[in-house]
Symmetry: C2
Subunit: 377 residues, 2 copies
């Protein structure tokens, strides 16, 4: 079955590109001597994660408890839940541990240590925790300033129901970098901050076996990972236009795309109307702040080859508006009414989240598999 | 069960506000003498649509065939599929008609008439079609200029397998209006353009029983609907911050919100971190172009009352960053670590699409029901 027989809009995953992306980062991490703990939040699918775990120690990262439950059910036991823990998430976390999952939680406050410890001690288990570090002012985490790090570390080490497993940070600001030199510098900032915190904990007599860092940009540009025990990344499996804009990949590496039908022409305006609106692409406009604004996505033919300078310049719920980014003439014959196009997404995580499955294709566009996603919480 | 026992993030629907919003627009349409054909794309749920159909003729609008199948299965037969038809959608449309659904398709080109007619004639049925009109340059549809309208109308009337049911337009640009006067003018533009096209068809000896217009802003501000046979709207059931910014509703009318847990404080920055990132809110930034930018959402306490001037100023996949829009001090005690907040969305359609269900609550926050959504295509 060829992809052009699929109903639109739908999500297409190029298996060869996926495999290449995964192998490239795995090889890079091997060369740097660091284990990769792939993030399950982009793919939300076991087939992709099994591929990503090839040659790795077997642990993964997740962004929701639903992912944790799903991946555990599929045989993955070593799971870092990399979003700060909340009280209402504890019953489900503890149930998963009862079943045999090795869940590590993340926290950055004394309050969190206390409510995790209380619930875990009452349940008769010990929950391992990583302390979240803020290496770049991006969102959560503590810095080396003040005494939070040692206070939280000491409490985790001493309280019943919790244990101190190490530190974790994410250089989320690397997505805003404007050059590969800036990403390299961000990778070193991420590494050195995490290592400094680990050393501060150890200097206080506290254990810190895990030093976990990661983002797709920094994992691709880090030159040295001394002191780091694991790298986390997720988007690298699929890549996307934001990553291409950062120079982390080429547009041709992007493994995921949205298949759409052309449903109209507005010839005077130079618009091609499709059935892939923001419900199909997501509202992500991640390239809007980059040098090359890709609108809601870059338009290719059904064969995956870029069509002139066409982008999705506008999106309503179920309508996409394609135009030429430079106002050049539309190749109307290449996007006739009823024909199909493929659209590369700004952000693979956001676009994929709009679908419950991937149509997996080979290089010739034959559909070779259907892989399901575990969305929601 | 009180909503604060729910796992976060999740979608909360206030039943009393929903009922009030529905009754208000129903009464307005009654006063204007026009039937309301509610749009199923916002709620994607039969319980909400059953409420919306109270006192109406029973027909609905949908944005996907999955909605059409779902609502038909729940007993609704008269369905307008209000997205331009594509060849790959025809087999499913015809199957649904075989089962007894009265589906009307939308089109704005001779090419579409031809492929619908061919498939329908081969299948031995007649597919009714509405001609999409472009009343405001928003996206699809034809104008009165040129001879497209009569050419498409004539073909629909004469070809086997299709029939001309009327015209349909949507004043999508009403979302960009800056005043209620502008919305009133847009409503009249929507009405008069649709009526003029209907008259042009009739003057050519073609039937045009249906003159369908609609959007939530224009349905709320239209003063006269002479010549219009039905109004379509969807967002009015829930309302959202974009509609509040347009003056279509008050913030207090918004029936849908996201319940989130506070997972951290960044005190030096004045940030409260929650577990409701863009996966929970959507990436919709519809208020960014309005006078009052609400970030990714307006923050309320778990009781639904607004908290100072707090908004979600930043969002990552599973992290939301709350701050005060004017940089004032955060009421830390009202959003302690582990506590819950409720966030009003920019765009009800986009935020609701991130969830598979609504937790329906009464005015006191007791969960009285769980209603499921039919997402995807």
């Amino acid at each position: 079955m060829h992809l052009t027989t699929l109903e639109t809009p739908c999500l297409v995953l190029d298996k060869a590109k996926l495999q290449k992306n995964i192998r490239n980062l795995n090889a890079r991490m091997k060369a740097l001597g660091v284990n990769l703990r792939p993030h399950g939040k982009t793919a939300k699918n076991i087939d992709v994660m099994t591929m990503a775990l090839e040659g790795q120690e077997g642990g993964i990262t997740v962004s929701t408890l639903k992912e944790a439950e799903y991946y555990f059910e599929k045989g993955i036991t070593d799971i870092v839940y990399a979003v700060g823990i909340a009280p209402v998430k504890l019953p489900r976390t503890l149930r998963l541990m009862d079943k045999g999952a090795d869940i590590t939680v993340l926290l950055d406050s004394v309050e969190q240590v206390r409510f995790v410890a209380e619930a875990a001690a009452e349940h008769g288990v010990t929950v391992p925790a990583l302390i979240e570090l803020d290496c770049d002012g991006h969102r959560s985490g503590i810095t080396l300033e003040g005494d939070d790090l040692i206070a939280i570390g000491t409490l985790l080490h001493n309280e019943h129901g919790v244990s101190l497993k190490g530190v974790l940070t994410h250089a989320g600001e690397s997505y805003q970098c404007r050059s590969t030199e800036a990403i390299r510098a961000m990778a070193e900032q991420e590494r050195s901050m995490a290592v400094a915190c680990a050393e501060a904990l150890r200097a206080s007599g506290l254990p810190c076996p895990v030093v976990s860092v990661g983002s797709t940009p920094t994992s691709n540009f880090a030159q040295d990972l001394t002191g780091v025990t694991e790298m986390r990344a997720g988007v690298y499996m699929f890549y996307d236009l934001v990553m291409a804009g950062l120079g982390v990949c080429d547009e041709g590496d992007i493994a995921v795309s949205v298949l759409a039908s052309v449903i109209g022409h507005q010839k005077r305006k130079g618009w091609v109307i499709t059935d892939a609106g923001w419900m199909a692409m997501s509202r992500d406009r991640g390239t809007s702040a980059q040098a090359l604004d890709q609108g809601y996505g870059r338009v290719c033919g059904a064969d995956g080859e870029p069509l002139d300078d066409l982008i999705v310049s506008g999106a309503n719920q179920e309508h996409g508006i394609i135009s030429d980014r430079n106002g050049k003439k539309i190749p109307w014959a290449s996007c006739g009414i009823g024909s199909m196009v493929r659209i590369l997404p700004n952000h693979a995580c956001a676009t994929s989240a709009m679908y419950d499955r991937y149509h997996v294709v080979d290089a010739s566009g034959e559909v070779v598999d259907t892989w399901h996603r575990v969305n929601g919480w």
